[in-house]
Symmetry: C2
Subunit: 227 residues, 2 copies
């Protein structure tokens, strides 16, 4: 049974990758850079977007919100007046724990891709399965809150290994935690040596400019650099 299960999962990932390539072709045709934004529940993805999106130096941004249920995050971002599409994963069964390429594909007609330079896909809060499913993104950004402890890169290595930027969030709480930032960096470099990282408090705004600059650079048309 175990071998059968592995085979089914491998087939599912193959099928996912095929659809992810189709998504990617659509994004490239419309010259939209796409970020897959991931984190554990409550790490601060939406708060980060509330801070970053209003100030993107002319980059036209859209958001695809992925949640098991509800539209709380999309509602929070409504005031930004950017195109937002909501994907709920609960029709899958009790609730899928991640977005896959097919779900994202189903939402693309709701977004004006031709009028966007950047699409941010906010994934379901989860450090395991979202890392396994490419959705056609150019880059993966993960948010890791200092409240979660230093051990997370070691416990969820695939997530930390497959992202292009790690946003270390909630640094305003550092004086009140036992969190050892050097140890976290050490663990991060153990699973993804040298990966780009920024220290941020989405709550106070500290460090958010670096995330904004990173997103603007990604979305600035320079086709050869988007590998």
């Amino acid at each position: 049974m175990h071998r059968t299960r592995v085979r089914i999962v491998e087939d599912a990932l193959d099928a996912n990758n095929t659809i992810a390539r189709a998504n990617r072709a659509d994004f490239d045709r419309h010259e939209v850079a796409v970020i897959n934004l991931m984190s554990a529940p409550g790490a601060g993805k939406t708060t980060l977007l509330e801070r970053v999106l209003p100030d993107l130096a002319g980059v036209r941004v859209g958001v695809l919100e992925g949640d098991v249920q509800g539209s709380l995050d999309a509602d929070r971002l409504a005031d930004l007046h950017v195109p937002i599409a909501q994907l709920n994963t609960d029709p899958g069964f009790g609730g899928e724990c991640h977005l896959d390429a097919n779900m994202v594909r189903s939402a693309l007609p709701s977004l004006p891709l031709a009028d966007l330079d950047l699409l941010v896909i906010e994934n379901v809060g989860n450090l395991v399965c979202p890392a396994e499913f490419r959705v056609g993104e150019d880059a993966r950004v993960m948010v890791s809150s200092v409240t979660e402890g230093e051990d997370k890169p070691l416990k969820y290595p695939l997530m930390f290994r497959t992202c292009e930027l790690v946003v270390i969030n909630k640094i305003d709480l550092l004086p009140h935690l036992d969190f050892d930032l050097e140890l976290f960096r050490h663990h991060l470099d153990a699973v993804h040596p040298g990966v780009e990282r920024v220290l941020v408090s989405a709550r106070t705004g500290e460090g958010v400019g670096a995330v904004r600059d990173w997103m603007v650079a990604l979305a600035t048309p320079r086709a050869p650099a988007r590998t």
Copy 2:
């Protein structure tokens, strides 16, 4: 394709429930009460166990640690000198995001069930799929950290709806957060009216006694109460 997928998942859940009942029969035969301990990554499950397990009023406890990879949490609990078994989900594929009944069953021979009154199964840090897979437990305890925000019951309703106790952790950080405890309680009651809850700081020890008392009561032989 979608209908096929739902069918496959339903079949998997049916198979899981069958094995969960077999686990439960084994636990009942050995008169072991079993807790399925769940939370988002970094909410403080292991720190809570470090606080609670040394002081269980004579209740003989064992731990089953579930992680995608590694044995960091089991290593942390080693000093407690209680029986610990480690389950890693990464052989599944890139890594299963939850424990299922069959994984738990595979680990039972590593635990001296006949010598235990209580088994705590620390699940993979994830608020979605662990809620869908019964493993034969008597009770589900979930840990929700105040750093994760007030909206989590609404975003992950199945998890909050299917647990018997909600441990609201990291309350030592409340003075430094915008977290609205009343709003969290309101959301919690919206998805699981009246569910038992305790306020805790596993870090300082505040409120931990209530969790200990709850676990001791669960493990105290009183067969009719274990429904």
